[in-house]
Symmetry: C2
Subunit: 108 residues, 2 copies
Amino acid sequence: MEREPRQLYEARAKVAKALAHPSRLLMLDALAEKEMCVCDLTDLVGADQSTVSKHLAVLKNAGIVADRKEGVMIYYRLKVGCLRGFWNCIEGVLKQNLKEQQAVMNNL
Amino acid sequence: MEREPRQLYEARAKVAKALAHPSRLLMLDALAEKEMCVCDLTDLVGADQSTVSKHLAVLKNAGIVADRKEGVMIYYRLKVGCLRGFWNCIEGVLKQNLKEQQAVMNNL
DNA sequence: CAATTCTATGGCATAATTGCCATATAGGCA
DNA sequence: TGCCTATATGGCAATTATGCCATAGAATTG
């Protein structure tokens, strides 16, 4: 039962950190449908363009998205297909937690 | 194409934040095999016991682990089954990224 | 009860993240 | 060339995360 090297967990943590922000998760959800330029994503998120640009840099650096230049605009696209299923599973668990908590409240 | 409410992304971000630390990921990997007490996890991680306790509180608060008291000891167990598959997928993507980067380096 | 062990919490210093402003860079167009 | 648009980056202040120490609480044992 060898534990895997610390390096692996730092790599994973980098990905998890990139996911750990509501605006970035919102953008990823949008990018799951189609690629979008920074201007589109800026409208979507409703933050300063420089802020969105930095968020995208985080996602790109983590390997979660890729970009493509077309004229002046830069289009970002999702590179990872595991997110939808992952969040479905997580949300299932959290919903179950809620039910259990409510059951406790009701003295079940 | 309604976007889901901001609340959802904050809930997801909370889970992602809980995952965003190498020590916590190491513990989760260990807990995937069997439940462990705080003392076991403290040995595993090699940090101060109070630090490990706080990490566990983060995981518990995010709904990722649950605990059980037995005498003086508190056993933590994994509550979420999606992690193994998620990291497999992520690591597959990252490995692919590496290959592509190397190909670029070799002027393919 | 006293002593010991296991775990959680408060407090604090350090480090990392976040978001905006200002500015730089680059492409498109007159 | 000059101007406009789209994007990225530097810098800074405010917030949040991290980790250790000291300590508190709870169960066990003598």
